[in-house]
Symmetry: C2
């Protein structure tokens, strides 16, 4: 038995980890735009990266390290993704690390987010980083520094406590508000733990957790060049339990991913799309993700219109095995469409409209063709999304 | 040798075809919402339908007829798609045809567009249709009647004229402004010809033409339950030539599909996305369609921002074989990205911005990996799109 206890101040709680953020002048008003996370021990690290074929320079730089390398340092910047910058992008990262002072670096890692295609301003990053106090515990600054179009910073920490009094911590910060897609959301996420977790478990549990969290959310169906989830383990604590760690990591990644969706560019609602009764897990996933990505569904969510015809049409367009005679559609618990039990009355529509006014609700489609289910998460599409993305670089 | 001569008044030019539209009271201000196309001869007909698994009742009704059936009549309505209405939807169509007066019907066909999931108002349609003068040649009214969110009606007609003076006609009307996707655009299109074309050629040429026109455009990546392209041949003329017919049908369907894109909900620009140098035709198609469907690309078009990083990122996310060392991106003739020939200067960006202000232009991506090309067509995504689709049913 174990308990998950939510703690404030994110990464600061995790033994042996330090972090901070600072302004290098990329953002206005001296807001932080360069940040670090470091550990006073050599850490095992595992990572999941974007499926985009054009992986950004920081990802290529990471991949140059040997298998199972250890690290003690991640440097982050926002406003520039250092993507599609070729060999120069990788060389720039090495140059930056060569010029950092006051810190002993072991296989340092960089992580960037922002505009694609422009070289990093190395000097500004170096100048800013050399002002860091590497003994800071200030993860709030760190999570602020990686924000781009995010409206709020995203940080969670849990103490995993056992009946015998043993405990370890897992904490994570992430960013992301647009370019969010089920095929590995465009986002950065940094997870750290002091648990005494073997590297092999880190690999397995991170992969599984990402599949069940960041890969289930969609803001706009786009997949960036920089998507990254890192998990670092300092093993400062003696304590570890695989079941507990897995549950805690799933919980923290799921909730971080929902924070990203809540902060979806211009979005006002977080909606779960659950498909049940599919003939295979793949078909359940395809149809649920089709719903979370459909522009017509997303605009109907914004309009708070229980236009279930668009839900049905999107299921049909996704190509999965289905039949209109068997289909049932619910908005939360309101059955709005069923061929067997017709419910096309004004009262039901009123009830569904009420559901749609909520900040978060579930749309369930029972295909009644098989036994497989999948739940994807999406948000509405507003004028604001268009505005943010029409003006992004200006 | 043959000439394509553009004619006004669409279907009215084609021998043996009659059409009109009338108000049944579904639209405001007595605008037409019910229409017909009929022929005074038995016509061969061929059709391409939506790939959506929930095909609308009119499509199911059509499919009940035996192979190679002949017809003389199509009835259309807007405001109600008669989709996901089960057996009742099909029965309603039979009921309507049983109650039409003043016309001898041979295997009549219905075609509907509008909201999904509600039963047709049969009586209103019958009452309106029974006011038709079936000898009208008024295809303008007909093309107006099938409009939904369309801002303008879409009609084209060509005389295909040979050196020896022989000629035949091809005309088409279509509707569609949203729910437009490469996998058979959500739209209705009615093509008629008086050419003496064999049924086998009709099937082959229509399929090929749809692949090269309606299946290459995207407004929002959604595929409706009602998509249909019909081709009717009255064979009133003795004249026919396969090469000429194929070229003419390709030309008319291509231009009708571009009219749909021009009328894309809330769209201001028509953009061709050409991918060259892919390792297969399929990969060329996948990446070109990924561009035409990307929300981030579409919003950047609206913002007139030559944000080529999003173009590159979308190519990479599409999963096709590519390398940033080989990639080249053009806005019309302006080379804006090339690893081999770096062009990241302000002047180039200014030139690209100028291209983006045009109503129609081309974005070309040379992958330089192979020999295959594909051109897809898309449009920008504006506030207006969100507004139209948030409020569609109200």
């Amino acid at each position: 038995m174990f308990n998950l206890i939510s703690l404030k101040n994110g990464i600061d709680n995790v033994e042996g980890f330090y972090s901070d953020g600072i302004s290098a002048g990329f953002k206005k008003n001296n807001e932080p735009d360069v940040a670090f996370i470091r550990s006073n021990k050599e850490c095992d690290i595992t990572a999941v990266f974007t499926t985009n074929k054009f992986q950004a320079a920081p990802i290529k730089h990471y991949k140059k390290y040997p298998k199972n390398f250890k690290t003690n340092f991640i440097l982050m910047n926002s406003k520039n993704a250092n993507a599609i910058t070729g060999q120069r992008g990788i060389d720039d990262i090495d140059f930056i690390f060569k010029n950092l002072k006051g810190i002993r670096l072991l296989n340092p890692i960089m992580s960037s987010t922002g505009v694609i295609g422009y070289p990093l301003d190395k000097e500004k990053i170096i100048t800013a980083a050399n002002k860091f106090d590497y003994n800071s515990k200030n993860s709030k600054n760190c999570s602020n520094a990686i924000m781009t179009t995010d409206k709020f910073s995203k940080e969670l920490c849990f103490r995993v406590e056992f009946d015998n009094g043993d405990f370890f911590h897992i904490a994570g910060i992430c960013k992301g508000a647009g370019m969010i897609n089920p095929a590995m959301a465009t986002m950065l996420c940094f997870l750290v733990t002091d648990a005494n977790i073997p590297k092999i478990d880190m690999d397995e549990i991170l992969k599984e957790s990402v599949e069940n969290s960041f890969n289930k959310i969609s803001v706009d169906g786009d997949t960036s060049t920089n998507d990254t989830v890192f998990l670092l383990a300092s093993k400062t604590k003696k304590c570890y339990d695989k079941t507990a760690f897995k549950e805690a990591l799933k919980f923290i990644t799921k909730n971080l991913s929902l924070l990203i969706l809540k902060d979806g560019e211009g979005s006002n609602k977080v909606v779960a799309f659950e498909v049940n009764g599919a003939i295979s897990e793949k078909e359940a996933e395809i149809s649920a993700k089709a719903l979370s990505n459909s522009l017509l569904v997303k605009t109907a969510l914004f309009g708070e219109d229980p236009n279930w015809g668009r839900i049905a049409s999107t299921i049909g367009a996704s190509g999965v095995t289905c039949s209109e005679e068997e289909l049932e559609i619910y908005y939360d618990k309101v059955l709005i469409f069923s061929k067997k039990h017709p419910v096309l009355d004004k009262e039901t529509e009123q009830k569904a409209m009420k559901v749609m006014k909520k900040e978060s609700f579930k749309i369930t489609c029972n295909l009644n063709m098989g036994n497989f289910s999948y739940r994807a998460y999406g948000c509405d599409l507003s004028y604001e999304y268009v505005k943010i993305n029409a003006d992004y670089r200006t």
